[in-house]
Amino acid sequence: MGPFRSASGPAERSDPDLDNLLTLVARGDQGAFESVYDRLAGPVYGLIRKVLRDPAQSEEVAQEVLLEVWRTASRFDPGKGSAVTWVLTIAHRRAIDRVRSETAAAEREQRSATAPVAVDETAESVEASLEAERVRRCLDGLTELQRESITLAYYGGYSYPQVAALLDTALGTIKTRIRDGLIRLRDCLGVSW
C-alpha cells in the first residue's frame, strides 16, 4: 500500500499543487493529507533512511515527521519556500537530531571516542527516478572535495567539523567547498526558489 508516486509523477522540487494541498491539510482535510502522504512519504522515508541507515529507527522518525506535517501544516508559509522543501527540511533535521543525540550518548558511554566511520556508497534501494539521475549527473560535475563534503554532510549526517576531520581538510576549506559546491549544484539543477 502507499504508492508514493501519484499519477502526476514524483514530487517536484516546486509543486504548486502540493502547496495547495498543504493549505487544505492545515484546515483539517484528511483526504488532502493522504495525498501529501502519498507524494512525500517516499522521499521522507528514503532521506531519513539514507542518514540513519537503521530501518526501524528510520521508520520511527519518518512517522514522527509525517505526523508533524499534519500537526504543523498551518505553519507552512508558501512565501518562504515550497511545500516539498518545507517537509523535507523537517525530515532532514529530525534525522540529524537523532544522529547527534545518539552520537552524544555513545560518546558518553565509550570513554574513548573514535571518529565516525566514513559512509560507504552502498547502493540503497533508491527510487530510480529522473530526479535521481539528474542529481547524480550534477554531483558528478562537482570537484571531488565539494561532492564528498556535501554528501557526507547531507546524506551522512555529519557536522562540517566532522566532515573536515573525515576528509583531513581544514575547517575553513570545507566550509567554503560546501558553499561553492551547493552553488554549482543549484545552478546545474536549475533550482528555482
Binding site: 512519504a41 517516499g42 558553499r179 539543477l189 526558489w193
Partner: protein, 248 residues
C-alpha cells in the same frame, strides 16, 4: 572584524545542510535575520538540498501509512500564526503562548513520543500503555492546551504541555544528560498547594524521554525538576535544574 562577515556568510552552505552545531547555528541564525543576501542564499540551498532528498526516495515500509493516518485522527493541529509585522521581534514575557516556533517542534515531539511509547510496548504492556497514552492524548488535544519548552541548567530541554481544564500536564525532555542508575530526574509542582512530586522521568531513549503525565495541576503552579536518588523523594533535596511557571 573585517573577516568576520565573509566567514559567517560562508556558513550558509553548512547551515542549509544542517551541518552546524549548537552555538554556531545560533550565531548564524542571528546573522541570518539581518542579512537578506544570506537568507536568499539559504533558501536556494534548501531547494537544492530538496533535490538531494528527492533523489534518495525509497519505498516506505508497509503499515506506516495506516499508522500515520490513524495518528492524525487523534492529533490536534496547531492553529495558524497570526501575521505580525515583519521586523518586529517576537519577544514575550512568558515562554508559553507566543513562542510558537518552539511549540511547533515541541508539540510534534510530544505527540510522536506518545506514539513511540505505544510502539515499543510489548503486547502484554500494550493495553496499559494505550490507556496511558489516551490520557496523554486528552491533554495534548485539549482546546486550552499550552506548550512551552525551557532549557534546564544542566543542558537539554524540558517540554511541558498543560491543560487547565484537565488540570493535567505532560512532560517530555530531550538531550538531558544521562544519569547513573542511582539517580533520577524528578518533577515537581510548586505553588499554593505546596510542593508536590509530579513524577519521575523515565530513562531516555535516543536522548528523549517518554511523556510523563501529572494531574492535580493548580492555578499558580510552577513546574520544577531536580536530580534525586533513584525511586524519587517526597520533597526536593537538590537545587532545581528547571523552574517553569505554568501559564495563568
Amino acid at each position: 572584524m573585517k573577516l568576520r562577515r565573509p566567514n559567517l556568510h560562508a556558513l550558509a552552505g553548512p547551515y542549509a545542510l544542517d551541518a552546524l552545531d549548537g552555538a554556531e547555528r545560533d550565531r548564524f541564525e542571528r546573522h541570518l535575520r539581518g542579512c537578506r543576501t544570506c537568507e536568499n542564499e539559504v533558501r536556494g540551498f534548501a531547494a537544492t538540498a530538496t533535490a538531494l532528498a528527492l533523489a534518495a526516495a525509497a519505498q516506505p515500509p508497509a503499515g506506516l501509512r495506516e499508522r500515520v493516518l490513524a495518528a492524525t485522527t487523534v492529533t490536534r493541529q496547531l492553529p495558524p500564526v497570526i501575521a505580525r509585522r515583519r521586523g518586529v521581534p517576537a519577544v514575550s514575557r512568558s515562554p508559553w503562548v507566543p513562542r510558537l516556533a518552539l511549540a511547533v517542534g515541541a508539540a510534534g515531539v510530544a505527540a510522536a513520543a506518545v506514539l513511540a511509547a505505544v510502539q515499543v510496548s510489548t503486547q502484554d504492556r500494550l493495553n496499559s500503555a494505550l490507556a496511558h497514552s489516551q490520557e496523554i492524548a486528552v491533554v495534548l488535544a485539549a482546546p486550552d492546551a499550552r506548550i512551552a519548552s525551557a532549557p534546564t541548567t544542566v543542558g537539554g530541554t524540558a517540554i511541558v504541555v498543560v491543560s487547565r481544564t484537565e488540570r493535567k500536564m505532560v512532560v517530555t525532555s530531550s538531550g538531558l544528560p544521562e544519569l547513573p542508575s542511582s539517580k533520577v530526574y524528578e518533577l515537581w509542582l510548586m505553588g499554593p498547594g505546596g510542593t508536590r512530586p509530579a513524577g519521575l522521568l523515565p530513562p531516555p531513549s535516543s536522548g528523549k524521554t517518554a511523556p510523563v503525565l501529572a494531574s492535580g495541576v493548580l492555578a499558580g503552579d510552577t513546574v520544577g525538576m531536580t536530580v534525586e536518588p533513584a525511586g524519587g523523594t517526597s520533597s526536593p533535596t537538590t537545587t532545581p535544574i528547571l523552574v517553569l511557571p505554568l501559564p495563568a
